[in-house]
Every structure is written in structure tokens, then in C-alpha cells.
């Protein structure tokens, strides 16, 4: 795992959470983990393919997810409805999209997959031979942890003319 892939995600998370949920985050201590990861209540998986490839996993607990969705939708949610689930997944999508724009500015183009949403504590997620860099992001409603299982890929993303594929995720 290349640490230069880290900052785009932290920066993107900071910007997006500030804009979407008016939350100011601070980054906790990093750690590197090779062991599989036991899930928290909510997990969102998004893959990157291109000059950076691998998986990005966002994990948070139920309470934080409800608080986050409540802020995004500006209503007081009691549980994580389908709409709220979709909004949390979308938030992860926007953060990853924004990070991929920042990565492409740094010379690593990639395309991101649609998000997959997992609910359930204690499942084991393995990214196999990709080590995970764990980035805890703390804010007033709780902690969101980003797991980066990324490495430099060899597939170049070709964009034609001035159509830059990743642009559609810009916020």
C-alpha cells in the first residue's frame, strides 16, 4: 500500500463531510493491517480500477450512520431506512469519487465502481494480498474508518478529447 494514496482520501472525506453534513473531521492515528477485518455495523465497499487499484472500505457503527444520514437529509431519523442506507452509500461514493479526482491530478487515473452496502457486525472481510491502511476519521457524531487496500495498477485509463471520465463525480 502506497501512502501517497492516503491524503487524497483524507482530503476528500474532509471536504465532502464538511459540505454534505457540516461536520469537521480530524484524522486519528494510522495503522497498517494485514489481517482480515471484522466488520462494524455498516460497511461500504467501493473498488478502484486503473492506475490505482484495489478496494476502499468505509466502516461506521449504526448510531453514527443514523446521525450522519439525519444530517444529510435534514430530518431526525430513528433507524436506517433504505433511503438512509442509500444516502450513506452515496456519501462514500462521493468521497471516493472526489478522491479519485485528486488521485488523477497526482497522476494516477482510476475509475470507481458503484458502492456495495453491507449491514451486519462481525463478518470477516479479507482483501487478500492487499494490506489495508486504516484511517480513523473522528467527528462530533462518531468515528468513520476508511480502510485503503490499494496499490499501483498497470491499467491506464484513456480519456478521449477533453472528456475526463472521473469528472462526473466532482462535487
Amino acid at each position: 500500500m502506497n501512502v501517497k494514496f492516503l491524503n487524497p482520501f483524507v482530503e476528500a472525506a474532509y471536504q465532502v463531510l464538511q459540505a454534505e453534513a457540516r461536520l469537521t473531521i480530524s484524522r486519528g492515528e494510522l495503522s497498517l493491517d494485514k489481517e482480515p477485518y471484522a466488520t462494524d455495523d455498516i460497511t461500504i465497499i467501493i473498488s478502484l480500477v486503473g492506475q490505482v487499484m484495489g478496494n476502499v472500505i468505509y466502516s461506521l457503527n449504526n448510531q453514527t450512520a443514523i446521525a450522519l444520514a439525519s444530517r444529510m437529509m435534514e430530518e431526525d431519523l430513528k433507524s436506517l431506512s433504505a433511503l438512509a442506507q442509500s444516502s450513506i452509500a452515496e456519501l462514500a461514493n462521493v468521497i471516493t469519487g472526489r478522491a479519485s479526482v485528486l488521485l488523477s491530478q497526482a497522476g494516477y487515473q482510476s475509475i470507481i465502481s458503484p458502492p456495495t452496502f453491507l449491514m451486519g457486525k462481525g463478518a470477516i472481510i479479507s482483501t487478500l494480498d492487499f494490506a489495508r491502511l486504516i484511517v480513523p476519521l473522528n467527528c462530533e457524531i462518531g468515528s468513520i474508518t476508511i480502510h485503503l487496500a490499494l496499490r499501483e495498477g498497470s491499467q491506464r485509463v484513456i480519456t478521449q478529447g477533453n472528456t475526463v471520465v472521473v469528472n462526473r463525480f466532482t462535487i
Partner: protein, 173 residues
């Protein structure tokens, strides 16, 4: 979800399982699900990006997973350790890779992400606004269900050209 994305996966799965594990595969009845999926013991998750986008999930029981990797590696696996996990994930990877070659022959080029393996029963996986076509594949070692949550990329949103993944000569014919 477009059903024409189905056959490449079924063909690839049959071919790969037959070649790697020496098992015959028969396809069960298709179902379309909009609700979230509750996992079996082992789930391999692979994303597709390109002209076809979405997620493919392979669900199987631990017993089936162990039986499959035991065949692939030619040794008995008593427990689902990291090598066994890697073997199952690799099977998913090879099947998806084969399927994308078939999809690209049909005019839909896509690239696949590295696999992620989810180990644990009863987790809910939602593909959100992607409906899932579920294809049960029955083999003598147990059942593997393939969940396809795919759609054609909206025009202009996917790169029209990707430098293609290495396609072996044998697959080009």
C-alpha cells in the same frame, strides 16, 4: 439489469469450475431480487467498471468452498484458512475475468476490480439501486450462487477505450 450479461457469467463459471475443479455445473432457475442479499458463509465480491458496471457476488457455503479449493490445489483443506480464502477468491476472479472477455466480444468492454472476500453468515449486502439476477449453479460439491447486479453504463459516462487487459491468444479466437 440486462439479461444478456448473464450468459457470459454462466458460461465462464461452468468452464472455469470444470477446468479447475473437474466438476460439472448445472444451472438452476433464475430469480430477480431487489431486496438486499443475506450472505451465506463465504461471499466473493468483484466489481466491474466500464461499459458494463456493477457488482458480481459469488455466494457459497464454507463446505462447498473447502471442497472446491481442495480440488483446485489437490490437497485436503480441513479449515477455511487464508490459503483457502485466497483460492476461493481467485476462482471468483478467474470466472469474472473470463466473463469480461466474453462480454467484450459481445461489445461491452469492462475491467474488474481485485476480489474482496466476506466470511460470515447473515450479513446483509445491498447493491442499492442495482437489482440482482441470482443464478444458482449446482455442482457435485455443492451450490455456488452467482449474483449479478450489473447495468449498462450510461452513454458518455464510461471511457470508450480502455487499454485492454491482456487477453490470451487462445481466448481471442
Amino acid at each position: 439489469m440486462n439479461v444478456k450479461f448473464l450468459n457470459p457469467f454462466v458460461e465462464a463459471a461452468s468452464e472455469v469450475l470444470q477446468a479447475e475443479c473437474g466438476v460439472q455445473v448445472s444451472r438452476g432457475n433464475l430469480t430477480l431480487h431487489k431486496s438486499a442479499l443475506t450472505t451465506d458463509d463465504v461471499t466473493v465480491l468483484i466489481s466491474l467498471v466500464g461499459q458494463v458496471q456493477g457488482v458480481v457476488l459469488y455466494g457459497l457455503s464454507e463446505k462447498t468452498g473447502l471442497a472446491l479449493v481442495s480440488r483446485v490445489m489437490g490437497q485436503e483443506f480441513p479449515e477455511f484458512d487464508s490459503l483457502a480464502q485466497s483460492g476461493v477468491a481467485e476462482l471468483g476472479n478467474v470466472i469474472s475475468g473470463q466473463a469480461t472477455i466474453r462480454l467484450s466480444k459481445a461489445g461491452y468492454s469492462a475491467n474488474i476490480s481485485p476480489p474482496t472476500l466476506i466470511h460470515g453468515r447473515g450479513v446483509t449486502i445491498s447493491t442499492l439501486d442495482f437489482a440482482r439476477v441470482v443464478v444458482p449453479l449446482t455442482t457435485e460439491l455443492g451450490e455456488v450462487s452467482v449474483h449479478l447486479a450489473l447495468r449498462e453504463a450510461p452513454p458518455g459516462s464510461a471511457p470508450s477505450t480502455f487499454v485492454p487487459v491482456m487477453v490470451p491468444d487462445s481466448a481471442k479466437k
